[in-house]
């Protein structure tokens, strides 16, 4: 007996139990079958051949704009696993055939919930943030040359030092975004499991679509405008405090490059929502590395060894020793970052997403709980989270179970007696069918439960 769940579940209706659905998969019947199936909450297809399983998945893939996932444990599930967008294999008593054909594999069916709600969601979030930031920083970096072109006769002269161009993407800005892409979490895992509705942005493609992409690009272009024209405006007629003018190419290059690195570092600091020690190390380390390499490359030691390569001798010292240059960099940073900060704050206030609310609630709860001792942050911390269901999850023996109803008596007796299949594979977790109603009600219930509950 295998259960095929489609993402588009609607209504609370009936559950057709189709046996021998070879007919349903014929060309003239297949659309009707699909429409009927999608009108139901769950569909059970039993006594199906591997080919038919694959055909059902194929049907959903072709006609519905949905991402399909197929999970199975036996060799007869391989074709279904291969057909679906995501194939999940269960390694266990029926061998490892399914595992070898799958994209993800684990040992128990109930881990599917974690795969989707926790890891899948985090993965989507990290990927979207990573992509947005990557486009932003590269546009900010490259478009400066576009603006400079108007002033240098379009001679393709670079604004920055050659070595900065090489090292920018590899050394100065790669590690912080990598750390964000690996460690970022917006909501802790217990909450992800509690609020399955958090999964919706992934299904609706909300975090990185055309609109978000253009916003990233626009932000990058705006940053490049600021990073070019602020130094241009300040340095064109500026001089050092001893009268030597600051308008030379190398000073301009160092100022713009330093401002760029600082602005994109502040931006990744804003984007990172989960600061582990590694994030701290990478972000501050990248900034420190930039200044170290800058001063090293502009030093006389390297110049004496390779005079043609390192002809920026003395620039860093002359440039960064001027207060005017630091004032320029500070100004450029604030002009780039302040609108982003204001926009994010207002968005958080006026249109908070579910993840924002959950995150806020979680952090407020943590602050309240802290005086009472360390609580509730570990995985399955047994029973300390007041009023939430995670304690019960940690102790094992979940109270949630899946049900298959039939109008008539049907084959229930046959199934539960264990005569035709092993009882162990009946351990199925649902996708939080417990939480009915809107998430606001759930949240309110929890808030009231917390205020009246004592920690257990």
């Amino acid at each position: 007996l295998k259960i095929l769940l489609t993402p588009n579940v609607r209504g609370n209706g009936y559950f057709p139990l189709s046996v021998g659905q070879a007919h349903a998969l014929e060309a003239d019947m297949e659309r009707e079958f699909l429409e009927t199936a999608c009108a139901c909450r769950a569909v059970i297809c039993c006594r199906v051949t591997p080919l038919q399983k694959a055909l059902v998945v194929e049907l959903v893939k072709q006609h519905k704009k949905a991402v399909t996932l197929a999970i199975g444990d036996g060799a007869n599930d391989v074709s279904m696993i291969k057909t679906a967008h995501i194939g999940v294999g269960i390694s266990g008593q029926e061998g490892i055939q399914a595992v070898l054909a799958s994209d993800y594999s684990f040992s128990q069916f109930r881990f599917l919930q974690r795969l989707l709600l926790v890891h899948g969601r985090w993965s989507y979030l990290r990927m979207c943030r990573f992509l947005c930031y990557f486009f932003y920083k590269n546009f900010a970096f490259t478009m400066v040359h576009f603006w400079f072109g108007f002033f240098c006769g379009f001679s393709a002269q670079t604004v920055y030092d050659q070595y900065f161009i090489t090292l920018y993407n590899i050394v100065y800005t790669s590690l912080p975004v990598l750390a964000m892409g690996i460690f970022d979490q917006d909501v802790p895992e217990q909450r992800s499991l509690e609020y399955p509705k958090l999964y919706e942005p992934g299904q609706l493609n909300l975090l990185f679509n055309k609109r978000e992409f253009f916003i990233c690009i626009a932000q990058g272009i705006y940053t490049s405008v600021v990073l070019f024209f602020i130094p241009y405006g300040v340095l064109s007629y500026a001089t050092q405090s001893n009268g030597v003018p600051l308008a030379d190419y190398q000073t301009f290059a160092v100022t713009t490059a330093t401002a760029l690195v600082i602005v994109v570092s502040v931006q990744i600091a804003l984007d990172t929502g989960y600061w582990t020690a590694i994030n701290h190390f990478f972000i501050w380390g990248s900034l420190g590395t930039y200044f170290t390499i800058l001063f090293a490359m502009h030093s006389s030691i390297l110049f004496n060894i390779f005079p043609k390569q390192f002809h920026f001798l003395g620039s860093a010292y002359n440039t960064l020793g001027q207060p005017v240059v630091w004032l320029t960099i500070a100004l450029a940073t604030v002009i780039c970052i302040a609108p982003v900060l204001a926009f994010r704050f207002l968005k958080l206030d006026l249109k908070p997403q579910l993840s924002d609310t959950v995150r806020y609630t979680q952090l407020v709860l943590q602050k309240k709980r802290k005086p009472g001792g360390r609580a509730g942050r570990g995985v399955g911390g047994a029973g300390v989270a007041s009023g939430s269901t995670l304690g019960r999850l940690g102790r094992g023996g979940s109270r949630r179970s899946g049900y298959a109803f039939a109008h008539q008596e049907g084959f229930g007796e046959l199934i539960t007696s264990g005569k035709n299949m092993r009882l162990s594979s009946l351990a199925l977790a649902t996708f939080a069918s417990r939480h009915s109603g809107s998430w606001i009600d759930t949240l309110r219930r929890k808030k009231h439960a917390n205020s009246t509950d004592k920690t257990r």
């Binding site: 240098c152 064109s236 405090s241 001893n242 308008a247 002359n318 320029t328 302040a338 204001a342």
Partner: protein, 311 residues
Amino acid sequence: MKNEGEAAKRPDNTAFTQQRLPAWQPILSAGIVIPSFLLIGLAFIGIGIGLFLTSQTIQVWEMDYTGFEKDSPCFRCTILSNQNCTCEVTFSLSTLFSVKSSYFPSDCSPYAYDSEKNPIVPCGAIANSIFNDTFELYQIINGTKKQVPLDGKGISWWTDYNIKYRNPSSVNSSFAKSFDGTVKPINWPKPAYELDLTDPNNNGFLNQDFLVWMRRAALPQFRKLYRRITDGDYAAGLPAGNYSLKVHYNYPVLSFDGRKKVVFSNVSWMGGKNDFLGIAYLVVGSLCVVMSVVMLVVYAKFKFSDDDDDA
């Protein structure tokens, strides 16, 4: 149901592999964002006022002297203002695109060799186009001209003078001989070893004017430091009165529609006159303050309406 084999296949249960690392999770709460905007706004306004006032105290006088006949040796100009400041003289050049890639020191073409295949020293287009107007400044006192001494020391970067550029060592104690086998750049009136015959520390490649010119400018309009006025009777600055600036007009700019200006300015801790920075700081500071007020209003409205809903 757990035996030794299964337990061994389990993934590590460390904080790192199970994504349980202790972390700081900031949220953009109103208590942090609004005060920080206000603080930054006020700080920027303060800095902006300081910069603007400093900039206002700096006196600048500039004059465009392009367009005079090439063979007119001198002209008269009179300054009729109350000037009492310590100054440097700078000349200013516009619409010369000096940042072409062929100016890279490693590639001297097409200014590397002359028609007889002799190497040009110093080579390259930047060196060839060195600015060669010179100036003499006189104060007119009771009808007689008194020369104002102009100091040309230390107008280039210390690193340029001491490390980056070096003269070839003299051959048979003659500096000129070390340039044997080379020719001067095409547009130069004199070869490099005759740039300043009075001071051996200012001759050849270590000539300060040469170094100043070789420091490539970033933008089509740029200024370069010519001289400082620091010595003698004018150490405290140029007193009010009439002055005459004698220009030896050599540099041709009309072919590319360039303009030449001479600028007198005094300097402060932030350099020369720079209104842009002060004004930019004031504008950004005020915008930040305005934004913080707007965010406060929005937050208050939203918070109170939210409380009303709950109640």
